[in-house]
C-alpha cells in the first residue's frame, strides 16, 4: 500500500510535470513551423518547406543552430540580471501550466488519473501571478543588457504588461463570479452543466477583453512593441544570442499556448465537447480522456487566430496602446464586472 502511495503521490505527478514540459517544447516546435507556414500562405509565399516533410524539421534545425551558437555577453551587461532573465522567462511560462487542466479524468482500478499536474482552489490566481513573473525577465533583460535598444524595449514591455494585466484580471474576474470558483478544474466542470461560458451573454465582452489583452501580454503583433523590429531592432532581447535568445523565443510561444489554454478553459469549456450537457451529443466524447483532443483542437484554433492577427494588422504605436488599455479596456472591464456582479446577486 505504501508502495502505491509512493507511485501515486510522487512518481505520477513527477512524470506529469515532465510530460507537460515536453508537451510545451513540442508545441513550440509545432507553432514555429505552423506560424511560418501559415503566415507564408497568407502572404502568398512558401515559408520553410525543405527540411523534412513540408519543412516540419526546420524548427529543430533552428534550435540546433541556436544551441551551437556562441553565447555573447557584452562587457557592460550586468552578469546576474542578464543571465537570470532568460531563466525566469521560461520557468514562469512553464510553471503556469501546472494548474491548467488538459483533459478529463480516467478512472483506473480505484485510482483516478487526472490530466492536470496540480489542482488548487486559487489556481486561476496562481496562473495569472506566475505568468506575470515574466515581466521581471523583460525588465532584467532590458535593463541588464545596459544597451539602448533593449532599454527602450524593456521600458515599453513593463508599461505594456502592467497596463494590460489590469483589464485581463478584471475580465477573468467576471468568469470567477459566474463559476463561483478560482479553481480551473471547477470552472470547466461548471461549464459542463451550464454550457460554455462564451455562450453566456455577460461573458462575451470579458472574452474579447481577455483575448485582446492576451495578445498584448504575449507581445504578439499588433502589440509587439517591446520587440518592434522596424523600430527597436529586437527590443529587450537585442543583445541575446544563442540559447539565451532561444529561451526568450520559446517563452513567447509558451505564453501563446498559455493564453490560448486559458481562453479555452475559461470561456470555451476546456476539455468539454461542444454542448456536452446535451445527451444526444454524448458521442462527441466517446471515451474517458477524449477531452484532451477537444482541448487540443480548441487551443490550435486560438493559436491560429494569433497567427492570423499577425498577418493582418499593422503595429500599434506605444501611446495608442496605453490609451487602448486605460481608456477602453479598463473602464469596459470595470463596467462589465459591475453588470456581472449585479446579475449574479439578482
Amino acid at each position: 500500500m505504501n508502495q502505491h502511495a509512493l507511485i501515486f503521490d510522487l512518481l505520477i505527478p513527477l512524470l506529469k510535470a515532465a510530460a507537460v514540459c515536453i508537451y510545451l517544447m513540442v508545441m513550440v516546435i509545432i507553432m514555429v513551423w505552423l506560424e511560418r507556414r501559415l503566415v507564408g500562405w497568407m502572404q502568398g509565399r512558401l515559408g520553410p518547406n525543405r527540411v523534412g516533410c513540408q519543412g516540419v524539421l526546420q524548427p529543430i534545425a533552428d534550435t540546433v543552430k541556436l544551441l551551437l551558437k556562441e553565447n555573447i555577453m557584452q562587457k557592460q551587461a550586468d552578469w546576474l540580471l542578464f543571465n537570470i532573465a532568460p531563466i525566469i522567462v521560461l520557468v514562469s511560462a512553464l510553471l503556469a501550466f501546472c494548474f491548467i487542466p488538459f483533459g478529463d479524468t480516467i478512472p483506473f482500478k480505484g485510482y483516478t488519473f487526472t490530466f492536470w499536474v496540480a489542482e488548487s482552489p486559487v489556481g486561476l490566481l496562481l496562473v495569472m501571478g506566475i505568468s506575470s513573473l515574466s515581466v521581471f525577465a523583460l525588465v532584467f533583460g532590458g535593463w541588464g543588457s545596459n544597451s539602448k535598444y533593449p532599454l527602450l524595449g524593456g521600458l515599453r514591455s513593463v508599461i505594456q504588461i502592467l497596463s494590460y494585466e489590469i483589464p485581463v484580471a478584471l475580465a477573468v474576474l467576471a468568469v470567477v463570479f459566474y463559476s463561483k470558483s478560482m479553481n480551473l478544474v471547477a470552472i470547466v466542470q461548471q461549464q459542463h452543466e451550464t454550457g460554455w461560458n462564451i455562450l453566456k451573454l455577460p461573458l462575451i465582452v470579458p472574452f474579447f477583453i481577455f483575448w485582446i489583452c492576451a495578445v498584448a501580454e504575449t507581445n504578439r503583433a499588433p502589440f509587439d512593441l517591446p520587440e518592434a523590429e522596424s523600430e527597436l531592432v529586437a527590443g529587450f532581447h537585442t543583445e541575446y544570442s544563442g540559447i539565451k535568445f532561444a529561451f526568450f523565443f520559446m517563452a513567447e510561444y509558451t505564453h501563446m499556448v498559455l493564453a490560448s489554454s486559458l481562453a479555452v478553459v475559461l470561456f470555451f469549456g476546456g476539455w468539454l465537447a461542444p454542448f456536452s450537457q446535451v445527451k444526444a451529443l454524448a458521442w462527441l466524447h466517446p471515451f474517458p480522456g477524449a477531452g484532451v483532443l477537444w482541448y487540443f483542437i480548441k487551443i490550435m484554433g486560438f493559436l491560429c487566430l494569433f497567427i492570423w492577427i499577425r498577418g493582418t494588422f499593422p503595429r500599434y504605436r506605444f501611446d495608442e496602446l496605453i490609451k487602448l488599455a486605460w481608456k477602453w479596456m479598463v473602464p469596459l472591464a470595470l463596467l462589465n464586472i459591475f453588470i456581472v456582479a449585479l446579475i449574479r446577486i439578482w
Binding site: R45, A221, L225, R315
Partner: protein, 364 residues
C-alpha cells in the same frame, strides 16, 4: 524618475532605415528631440566617375542611383543630353519611354507601399505589393533582359521595340495592379491602427515644404499642385489625360493616399500610350561618337520620389565636363528633421517610410 536624454543610433544597419542611412536621434524617453541624418555610407563617387565616361557610357551608370526606379533615372539623363545635343526623339520612342517610365513609377510606388507598411508593422502588404512589382519587373525583363538596373533607354531613343507579345504582357500587368491596390487599401485605408499611426504624423506646412525644396508625392500630399508631367511637360507627357492627385493634411496618411492614387493615374497613362502608340523609328540619328558642342543644360522630370534632374556641362568632347544630379531623395531628406520633431521613435520610421528615400540616390 528623471529619465536622461539619450542619444540613440539608428543605423546604418537597422531594419527600417531603407539602406545604409544612419540617424542620430536624441530622445527623451521615446519623444524625439533632435535628428541628425548621417549619409555617405553608399557614396560611390558617381558624379566624378561620369566626368571620365562618354555620354552613352553614363546611361547604365544612372541605373545605380535610384535602383528602385532605374528607368526614370535613365529618362532624366537622356532627356538632358538630348536637350543639350539638340536631338529630336521619334514619337514612337517617346511613347515607349512614357510607358516604361510609368511602369517604373508603379513599381517604385508599389515597393514604397510595401516598405512603408512593413515599417508600420503590416508585413503582409509588403509581400502583396511585391507580387505586382514582380509583374512589372517581368515586363522589363521581357523588354531588355534586366529587371532592376535595366538600361532600357538610349540617347536619342529606346533600346528595343514593344512587340505585340510584350504589349499584351503590359496590358495584363495594367489590368492586374488595380486589384492588388484594392487589396492593399482594404487592409490599410480604413484600418484604425493604420489611421492612428499615420493621420497627423509627420506634418509639414506647404510653405515650409516649398521652402525646403520638397518635391514629388510628399509635396503633393501637402496640397501643392506641382507635377512636372503637367507643369513642364516632357517626352509627350502633354498628350495624355491624367489627374494629379493632391492631399490636404500633409501627413503620412495623405502621402499614402497620394501615392496610391498616383499609381492608378500612371496605369491610365500607360493604357492611353498603348492605345495610341504611333509607328515610326525607335531612335534618332545619333553619331557613333557623340560629341556635344560646349554648353550647359539642366533638365528635370517627375521622378518617382520627386523632381529628378541632371545638370550637364559639355566642353565639346565626347565626355561631359561636369554632371550634377538633382536627387529628390537627398532634398526631401532635408525636411525630415522638421517633420519628426516632437513625435515618437515609432513615428520616425513611419515618416521616413513616407518620404520614400533611396540611399543610392542620396549618397550617389
Amino acid at each position: 524618475m528623471a529619465f536622461k536624454q539619450i542619444e540613440l543610433n539608428m543605423g546604418p544597419q537597422h531594419p527600417s532605415t531603407h539602406g545604409v542611412l544612419r540617424l542620430k536621434l536624441t530622445v527623451d524617453n521615446e519623444v524625439v528631440l533632435k535628428i541628425e541624418p548621417v549619409i555617405g555610407y553608399l557614396h560611390r563617387g558617381m558624379e566624378k566617375l561620369w566626368e571620365h565616361r562618354t555620354y552613352p557610357q553614363i546611361t547604365p551608370l544612372t541605373d545605380r542611383l535610384d535602383y528602385i526606379a532605374a528607368i526614370l533615372n535613365n529618362l532624366a539623363y537622356v532627356l538632358a543630353v538630348e536637350k543639350l545635343a539638340g536631338l529630336e526623339v521619334p514619337k514612337r520612342a517617346q511613347y515607349i519611354r512614357v510607358i516604361l517610365a510609368e511602369l517604373q513609377r508603379v513599381a517604385s510606388h508599389l515597393a514604397w507601399a510595401g516598405f512603408n507598411a512593413n515599417d508600420i508593422g503590416a508585413a503582409s502588404v509588403l509581400l502583396y505589393s511585391f507580387i505586382e512589382r514582380e509583374g512589372v519587373l517581368e515586363v522589363f525583363e521581357a523588354y531588355c533582359g534586366a529587371r532592376l538596373t535595366v538600361h532600357a533607354l538610349r540617347i536619342g531613343g529606346v533600346a528595343n521595340d514593344l512587340t505585340p507579345k510584350l504589349i499584351a504582357l503590359i496590358r495584363q500587368v495594367v489590368a492586374a495592379v488595380p486589384q492588388r491596390l484594392a487589396d492593399i487599401e482594404a487592409l490599410l485605408s480604413e484600418n484604425r491602427i493604420w489611421k492612428h499611426r499615420t493621420i497627423g504624423i509627420g506634418h509639414i506646412a506647404p510653405d515650409d515644404a516649398l521652402r525646403y525644396g520638397l518635391t514629388g508625392p510628399a509635396l503633393r500630399a501637402a496640397g501643392v499642385c506641382w507635377d512636372l508631367r503637367k507643369n513642364i511637360p516632357y517626352s509627350s507627357s502633354e498628350d495624355f489625360d491624367f489627374e494629379v492627385p493632391l492631399g490636404q493634411n500633409s501627413d503620412v496618411y495623405d502621402r499614402y493616399l497620394v501615392r496610391m492614387a498616383e499609381m492608378r493615374q500612371s496605369l491610365r497613362i500607360i493604357t492611353q500610350a498603348l492605345d495610341r502608340l504611333p509607328e515610326g523609328e525607335l531612335c534618332a540619328k545619333v553619331p557613333r561618337f557623340l560629341k556635344i558642342p560646349p554648353g550647359e543644360v539642366f533638365h528635370t522630370i517627375e521622378g518617382a520620389k520627386g523632381e529628378l534632374g541632371f545638370y550637364i556641362k559639355s566642353n565639346g568632347t565626347d565626355k561631359p565636363e561636369r554632371v550634377k544630379m538633382k536627387a529628390p531623395s537627398f532634398i526631401n531628406m532635408q525636411c525630415f528633421e522638421k517633420m519628426c520633431q516632437g513625435y515618437l521613435i515609432a513615428d520616425v520610421v513611419a515618416i521616413l517610410g513616407s518620404l520614400d528615400i533611396v540611399l543610392g540616390e542620396i549618397d550617389k
